[in-house]
Amino acid sequence: MVPTNHYLMLSAVLFLIGVAGVLTRRNAIIVLMCVELMLNAVNLSFLAFARALGDMGGHVFVFVVIAVAAAEAAVGLAILLAVFRNKQTVNIDELNLMRW
């Protein structure tokens, strides 16, 4: 039996890899992928706690998170398409219209 702490540690590392990706990458598509990675890392901790406590409420949370992530990906990529159509780029450094 793998201790719950190991799952939590793996989840934390994956989440922070996602954070580092969001902060450092300039390609908006890859930034969105890093957000997906962060959501997945959180799902892993939900399931680790669900298993440790023997409570299936965590599974329902993960189910909802997966649905929200799918919706987020669809809307985010649609926004990206609209932005690309207007600006011909997905480099987030050049998308500064709404910056102060």
Binding site: I17, T24, I29, I30, H59, V60, I66, V90
Partner: protein, 165 residues
Amino acid sequence: MEQAVFYVFAAIALGSSLAMVVQRNPVAAAMNLVLTMFSLAALFVLLQAHFLAVIQLLVYAGAVMVLFLFVIMFLNLTEDQMMPGRRSILHVAGVALAIYALFQLRALIQRTPPVSAKPVDAAFGTTKAIGRLLFSDYLLPFEITSVLILAAIVGAVVLAKRRLD
């Protein structure tokens, strides 16, 4: 045995997610993310979450990643758009912040008492058990999720349309 499986898939997940973050080519990054999703699905099976492991493969590795690949190929980025200028200060700051947060989290996780996982009954994590929960205790969140997905569908169509009539 279970430990070995855990460490193998944890290593695959870590390696492929790191590869995704440092990868310059978006298609290669997407493929690495698919590999991460696959190994996470294997870990879900280890955690007795059989239904969610399958959902993870179908929804994430299937639908969402296909959507990502579709958009990557639809945009058809040229070389200089694919490799935008790198700003080293932000890189260092981002990675340093992540490492700092990692140490904070490690201290926090080590302070939590190691929960001794009890053996669960065979129904744990099956489709039937989740379905029962979704349609009884969690009926309202389930219905709200369906409304959210409907809104996302409409929103995606409207946003991606060439122009509104």
